[in-house]
Subunit: 218 residues, 2 copies
């Protein structure tokens, strides 16, 4: 049975990595669709969200099956519970990628607009954080997880910069108010995606160290 | 041991209800602070968020302890996992109440502004949904849980109405652009709070019916 359990855990890890690969791809594609003003690419992200939703449900069912059949304790229990939570955060990041994609479809039908540096910087940082948070899980690397949490401060700073930028733009081009508000939404979704990667990193710290680390970096 | 387990479950239910009572109070107070433009009351919501964060951590630790010690199966396992997830959603609703409160502090220092009907309507509906989602958990009432999910559509409609309203206002009073964008934020936080109550209701359906209901009402 121990061997059977290890096989199940191994399978669970692989399933979670499939979810995270799909979510990384969604974020990357939504950001590319944004920078290239490509509505068709954005639509792909939206269409693919159902697939990720289904993957999330399957991982959750795997977790519950393992809990019911193997009744793990200590680090094994913490691992399964962490996967359950990380899985949920990943699915929400995919939802945010779909939200970005919806705004891309709206914005790409409008005349070209100036995009502040903050947005590509946030996009790059979110992708790095997502990758590192999953790496920290696989390597059980608490230091890497901690780095992800610290990066979130930079995201928050970039997000705050967006507000004065958009206000200035609305003052200069009031007829494009709706568009600037939609652009602000893109930055906000990236900021929320970064929050979810922080949750993932915190769950890794919890799993490895056995103490709940939440609310220390907020 | 079965009796000991039942006692633990009973204690867990009470702990979760304490969290939900505190969260309901946060939402109620943030909404009251908004309608009365009361920055002091809003500050109380923000200060109280740390207390709710701590309550969440305690409930999660209780869940993990029960899983480790009693290794529940079937409905009992589903109950504990649902509490774990509902607890997380409750804490996020409290975060959103604190976000609303932060905007109240900003807005209450500015001249009076017209508040569209959508905001008090959303606020009322979110409070009803939160109450009903917790009632559905306690009574294991799937029909009530389903009602909560359906109410979310009304919230989404009210939230969408906010965009044209704010755009018209910005056009009329461009010097108050920043304030109107903050007002939009209040509506958005209420919409996200409603999403979390929908998650809670879906978890209740899962717990009672044993099938994951997510992504059906999105």
């Amino acid at each position: 049975m121990a061997e059977h359990f290890l096989r199940e855990i191994d399978k669970l890890k692989k399933s979670l990595l499939s979810v995270s690969a799909a979510v990384e791809e969604s974020i990357r594609t939504s950001v590319r669709a944004f920078s290239e003003r490509d509505a068709e690419l954005a639509q792909q992200v939206i269409d693919n969200d159902d697939v990720i939703d289904q993957m999330e449900v399957e991982v959750e069912e795997e977790c519950l099956k393992i809990l019911a059949l193997h009744q793990p304790v200590a680090i094994d229990l913490r691992f399964v519970i962490s996967v359950l939570k990380i899985n949920n955060d990943l699915e929400r990041i995919a939802d945010l990628a779909a939200n970005i994609a919806a705004r891309v479809i709206y914005l790409s039908a409008k005349p070209h607009m100036e995009v502040p540096n903050a947005i590509p910087k946030m996009a790059e940082l979110v992708q790095k954080m997502l990758k590192q948070s999953l790496d920290s899980l696989i390597k059980m690397d608490v230091d890497l997880a901690r780095k992800v949490c610290l990066d979130d401060d930079e995201i928050d700073g970039l997000h705050s910069d967006m507000y004065p930028f958009v206000e200035t733009k609305i003052a200069a081009e009031p007829e494009r108010t709706a568009e600037w508000i939609q652009l602000l939404g893109v930055a906000r979704y990236l900021e929320r995606a970064a929050d979810h990667t922080t949750n993932i990193a915190e769950d890794v710290m919890y799993m490895v160290e056995g103490k709940i680390k939440r609310h220390k970096y907020n």
